[in-house]
């Protein structure tokens, strides 16, 4: 039973579908140039859970829960649900932590960077240049033998269900409008598509991304490391369809200034994404891919996502995150610390395992 989404045209189809869903979510109420943003949405979930109290960004984003559950369902159906883990989990937790911080300095994960580009936000060019730089440095380490160690099949399949179940419970809390959750009344957290649309969009993306192995980091990494464009085709399709739909719908506004939920601090847009690129590439994939893998039962990816949640909480509790006005009070030092951590991990874990 061949996986059609693993072919060239399959991944192009998947990327196109994901792009259409992203624009549809923007149309139905998600923030501008933010049909999907794994970093922003995990940050919003952290806010909804009151892990931080930044009022404009508190909302349990159903997209994330949809993606992980959609991935889990299709993985189970295709026999690809394989609970596994044990590959340097604590290192991965903090890779997630710092990847989130880098993304929040730029104000977007790689998915959002491509959507911002498709919307005419030229600051995304700066961010993507940073991302590519971080990925490039990561590939130098990978070529030298960087390795976080082998993951093993989990002692019990039960382990693989925990993170999807955690997300499922959070989704239920949202569905029943649990009074202890926080819901932004203003700002990006208040901009969201109706729950059923967000959830459906997430489930569909979970399916397309799981089947096609869609990965916005691998897309760039594989060009550097093996001169392969397979994953890039998926990302290109995603970006191009989003761009086309934006044009048609009058949502393409080229420029650097006054872009929605963006800032023009070029240095930190660049460096924030250098950090994100480094951290994601050492962890083996972009945040979307980590969410999909967690849906497949990969507990290392699950731990990475928990690290991202904590990173988001700390970012907003300690003024690390950016805003449209610019970088946060401690955004610069946090980014440099993160780059230091990821490079240290890179050096220490190179040649340690053969």
């Amino acid at each position: 039973m061949k996986n059609i989404f693993a072919t060239k045209w399959g991944i192009i189809l998947a990327g196109t579908a994901i792009g259409i869903i992203a624009i549809a979510l923007q149309f139905w109420g998600n923030p501008p140039n933010m049909g999907f943003c794994m970093a922003c949405f995990l940050r919003d979930i952290a806010g909804g859970l009151k892990l931080h109290t930044a009022a404009p960004v508190q909302y349990i984003r159903p997209e994330i829960t949809g993606i992980i559950l959609g991935a889990m369902i299709i993985a189970l159906a295709k026999g690809e649900f394989k609970p596994r883990g044990g590959s340097s989990p604590v290192i991965r937790f903090f890779l997630g932590f710092f990847a989130m911080i880098g993304a929040l300095v730029f104000l977007g994960c790689p998915w959002r960077a491509y959507l911002r580009l498709a919307g005419g936000d030229f600051n995304a060019i700066t961010g993507l240049a940073g991302l590519a730089t971080g990925i490039y440095v990561g590939t130098l380490l990978i070529k030298k033998g960087f390795n976080l160690g082998r993951a093993r099949a989990s002692q019990s399949r039960f382990s693989g269900y925990i993170i999807p179940a955690f997300m499922g419970i959070i989704l239920l809390m949202l569905v029943f409008h649990f009074s202890k959750l926080a819901f932004s009344t203003k700002g990006p957290g208040a901009m969201h598509a109706p729950l059923i649309i967000s959830l459906t969009g997430g489930l569909l993306v979970g399916y397309f991304a799981q089947r096609s192995r869609f990965c916005t980091i691998g897309a760039i990494r594989d060009i550097f490391i093996i001169r392969n464009y397979h994953l890039f085709l998926g990302v290109a399709a995603f970006t191009l369809i989003a761009f086309g739909l934006n044009l048609v719908m009058g949502n393409f506004h080229p420029g650097f200034e006054n872009q929605p939920i963006a800032h023009t601090d070029h240095l930190w847009n660049f460096l924030g994404m250098v950090l994100a690129g480094l951290a994601f590439v050492l962890a083996g994939g972009c945040p979307g891919r980590q969410i999909i893998l967690a849906g497949e039962g990969n507990t290392d990816s699950g731990i990475f996502i928990l690290g991202m949640l904590l990173g988001a909480a700390v970012a907003h509790n300690f003024g690390l995150a950016s805003s449209p006005k610019g970088i946060g009070e401690f955004g610069a030092i946090a980014t440099l610390t993160g780059i230091g951590y990821t490079l240290l991990v890179g050096f220490v874990m190179t040649k340690r395992m053969k």
Binding site: A151, I226, G285
Partner: protein, 73 residues
């Protein structure tokens, strides 16, 4: 028949492809790749196609849940 072993089980992307590519470029002779993840399997198969290598056979070890790709050179 002697096969150089590439054990890619449990390794994160892109290391299975890296290890396979290294053997293709730096070693002579036939080799076998051990894989326990479907995505890595697809990636390695794609790599072997790109290098136009001949796959002798693929074995599946159900209990331990991994596959082995045998490549003839």
């Amino acid at each position: 028949m002697e096969y150089i072993e590439v054990d890619a089980r449990g390794l994160s992307c892109p290391i299975p492809v890296m290890k396979t590519t290294k053997v293709i470029k730096k070693e002579q002779g036939s080799f076998k790749v051990l894989i326990d993840d479907e995505t890595s399997f697809e990636n390695v198969m794609r790599t072997l196609e790109n290098f136009k290598l001949e796959i002798e056979k693929t074995e599946e070890f159900e209990d331990e849940d991994y596959k082995v790709i045998y490549v003839i050179r």
